[in-house]
Symmetry: C2
Subunit: 369 residues, 2 copies
Amino acid sequence: MHYKNNYHPENEPVYKGLSVNQGVNDAPMINPYGQPKRKRQQYSASEFVEGILGGDISMLSQSVTLVESSLPEHQLIAQKVIEKCLPHAGNAVRLGITGVPGAGKSTFIEALGMHLVRDGHKLAVLAIDPSSERSKGSILGDKTRMEELSVAKNAFIRPSPSAGSLGGVARKTRESIILCEAAGFDTIFVETVGVGQSETSVHSMVDFFLLIQLAGTGDELQGIKRGIMEMADGIAINKCDGTNIDKARVAKTQYQNALHLFPPHESHWSPEAITCSSVELNGIREVWNMVERYIDFVKANHYFEIKRNAQSKYWMYETINEQLKNNFYQNSEIQNMLIDSEKRVLSNELSSFVAAKNLLDKYFRKIRK
Amino acid sequence: MHYKNNYHPENEPVYKGLSVNQGVNDAPMINPYGQPKRKRQQYSASEFVEGILGGDISMLSQSVTLVESSLPEHQLIAQKVIEKCLPHAGNAVRLGITGVPGAGKSTFIEALGMHLVRDGHKLAVLAIDPSSERSKGSILGDKTRMEELSVAKNAFIRPSPSAGSLGGVARKTRESIILCEAAGFDTIFVETVGVGQSETSVHSMVDFFLLIQLAGTGDELQGIKRGIMEMADGIAINKCDGTNIDKARVAKTQYQNALHLFPPHESHWSPEAITCSSVELNGIREVWNMVERYIDFVKANHYFEIKRNAQSKYWMYETINEQLKNNFYQNSEIQNMLIDSEKRVLSNELSSFVAAKNLLDKYFRKIRK
């Protein structure tokens, strides 16, 4: 079945079902029509919104699937749903969680997450991992690493959108936050793996950025060397248990000292380092207390609002810049010409700048037609 | 005098003179016509090329001024000059030099530069400092800090283009490299101040990336915390003189150890840390020997060519992306609409994504007309 044949051009397009792991692609111009494996009930945007606002997890989950889809008709519904959810969003605490693989992010999320849902919170756990296509969901993909949380009534766990550019993946995650908040989740975790530029993306959509560190690895530069510590509002030194306790305490002092070397945060908040054990459940409550103290602090000095506004602006500009590039690079004539231009640049026939200029001239001539 | 009145639309536009510190602006659409303070001799692109290839420093200097100008007619000549110089470029060793303010970059460049020109080299020193507009040329601006080098016969020192986005400033510097090489300079330094993203830009246009570090500041994280060490092909620990010698040697060991913590470079080169004193002229020759050993090493394993090709490609794409954005944001209707869109995004009336979509729709409708 091709969607083309069933496409409804009216104001209220309908969603005809798409399995979670399919059709997620950042190149709508190249492959605009997917072939869903099975048919589901067809819902309109208003029905999705009604479901989401009523806290229907299945409807929320299907809406997130639409957000992640690259099919133009799915995007059309998704954008309508987001618009209508927007006035009901924004009330959650958004916590970014990062750390290198092996730092124990999954067990930490399980521990902190269970602490929160037991305390009456509704928690959504999202992720950004642009590498997940290759690593096949190393992050959140394996829900069995969060045994309790994955079946908890008030928790919604969603793996990272599985393909596309970082900008595209991050945009989808940010849109999903809006849907989760409209569905009544008061706490959002956004997890990312501690490599590459994904931290910057997560940082641009959360209120508090938590770095999970590991004591006693003998590599005291972990995290620091990628400038991530500069972004952190707090550090949780994980696996502070058993024979690791002394090392974790030494690490805490080291990190606390290191944090003072960085220029003060715009928020005027002084980042803290806290030891914890996700296994023995020590220090988990203290980490959450830190987050709550931070939120109180930045709400009092209005930085909370300033940051949220800056993030909204950032995402408007990011979306524009991403789309300007997509439009150019997905133009079939440009794609053909690029191959030749690259060759001529590499053989020193053409400067990078003249090659770029020729391509741009071609592009603007083309779209003016 | 307005250029508009004197504009020559024929194939061979002429350069009518522009003082070095004027008219350098990244927004050609907004302010396309500058008012030069004085008139100079008018040269054609071919005359510039002839002058440059003959090693005429005045002609080189005026060409660089054209490259840095934002006037469309200057850019037209500049691009012609660059095209014709391109086959004569590419033969220099390109050395990127970074370090935090106070690390002694100027005295180091003076010392290494004088060592090279005395050895028969022809040296051009360029800079990238997108902040120079504000700091009024903290970098290379004050040539008096390079007393000998600034008057040496075989040295050409040029401050950073003084305004515009990092991308724009960096593009101009990269184009200037081509002109300097065509003029017979066999060694190019590109200096940058050790803050922000300018290192990445410099890294994308040089063969060897040298980090100048200072021993004994008590801040062993300098450099590391911004991820710059990961980019460095070598570290020069400067001010290894007087009472500083022991501290510099300790620092050398620390940096050498730290360098091993990073993943291996694509080049398979192992970065080295070398102590030096720009004042006592110790270790300067050793730093240059390291650069030469590196060049031999990467020429032998072909990484030299691979990197230069990757850089050419990078700059083609960078130029395209920069220009796509310029075209959008310099559109007057978009500029008006952006103000309103920002307001509505900040008041939560509109999602970042819908605001972006509306702006893009408007833009593409507009340029299609």
